[in-house]
């Protein structure tokens, strides 16, 4: 049993590195994977491999994509004049679920959080300014999280865009201030989108 134990403990160690998974949960998951049908366990392994080998950031908007350009950027039916700026790819998903927004997105891949060592240079802000400079965008909707860091990030960007011929708006405060976008429900997000105000 000693060799098997080594692979099992390697799996437990790897699982325990996942966010929110402690040693106990990792053990439970590892033994679960040993008990289910082999094909089921290997399907999980394949899915992880697939994601890491095929999924990348869209080179235009930095959303997750299986190709260089994501489906949202490639969709000719979407409006180029509206650009919605979010912190994370999961925020794109949340906003898409409302079905309310027909423009394009830009994913910052984080927020300005100096206390966590994240400055503006570590985000995709340069690329965003480049997109706006290239023209064709009439309105930039700041949909960063409605908390201090999200507001600070939105303010930083809106100051950068101040001299460009574009209207900058902010999601309405329909979403509880101090919270994060990904936990807001559809109705709240729809209200926040339709009630957006000049920054």
């Amino acid at each position: 049993m000693s060799e098997a134990t080594q692979s099992v403990s390697e799996l437990i160690d790897q699982l325990a590195k996942l966010p929110g998974i402690g040693k106990k949960s990792a053990e439970r998951l590892a033994y679960h994977l040993l008990h289910v049908h082999k094909s089921e366990a290997l399907a999980l392994a394949d899915a992880i491999r697939d994601v890491r080998e095929n999924v990348r950031y869209c080179k235009t908007c930095f959303n997750l994509s299986e190709k260089d350009t994501c489906e949202l950027c490639g969709d000719p039916r979407r409006e180029d004049r509206l650009l919605c700026v979010v912190e994370q790819p999961r925020d794109v998903m949340a906003l898409e679920q409302t079905g309310m927004f027909r423009g394009r997105y830009h994913v910052l891949l984080g927020r300005i959080a100096p206390l966590d060592g994240v400055g503006p240079d570590q985000l995709t802000i340069d690329a965003l300014v480049g997109r706006v400079r290239a023209g064709g965008i009439e309105e930039v909707i700041m949909a960063t999280n409605p908390n201090v860091e999200g507001d600070g990030t939105a303010l930083y960007i809106s100051n950068l865009l101040a001299d460009l011929p574009v209207r900058v708006t902010r999601l309405a405060r329909g979403i509880t201030t101090g919270s994060v976008l990904e936990f807001a429900n559809k109705e709240m997000l729809s209200d926040a989108l339709s009630g957006r105000q000049a920054f």
Binding site: P19, V148, T177, G178, F183
Partner: protein
Amino acid sequence: MPPENATAIVLRTIEFSETSLVVSLFTREHGKLGVLAKGARRLKGPFESALDLLAVCRIVFLRKSSEALDLLTEAKLLRRFRMDSRSLAGLYGGYYVAELLSELTHEYDPHPELFDLADQTLVRLAEGVAVARDVLRFELHLLRHLGLLPSLEQCVGCGCDVPAGGRVAFGHWDGGVLCPKCRPGKRQVASVRSDVLRTMVQLAESGEPSTEPMDNRTRGELRGLMNHYFAHLLGKKPKMQAYLGWDQT
């Protein structure tokens, strides 16, 4: 143990799991606390999104034994940090206040006057009227409350009154001004205009904050001196120092 109450400033939040946060708080009653807030990342919960950075809230928590984090059971928002200006200087100043409290205070070591000072400073920083001055005043008062204020008038070597006028030696290592006799051989000594030292004394002693303008040169030199002094105290450069502009109001 029975639940305890406190008024708290949110210094830092770290995602702990899909739904929970670990929150670092500076409380008026107990000093710094590290608490686990279960369910804080849900939209509806016992914390009603009160746990935003720099927010002031009323909290209820359960004290845990030695190793474990205290458990937050309630947080009611008293005041959110909301910027009145379009300048980020006030926000970055607020982050710096949080960083200094986090680095220089200890758990269960209360400093109620320091709490009130931080509380008042955050209100003023959100207004964004005299950010550079408010930050400097906070730094000096913080040092005084914690017994870390450098000696600004008497030589730290021999205790003599250091003559005003011209430039004065300031020893970061020794913690204050040095007279010409004591200066030789001391480490990390800066040469400071005595005008700058006078401004420091005024800021450290001022009961009420003011918006009186400070000339650019004094502000720049004072910022540089404080940056060096705090970096020396902490043994590292505070993260927010790079964000404190030299050309603020």
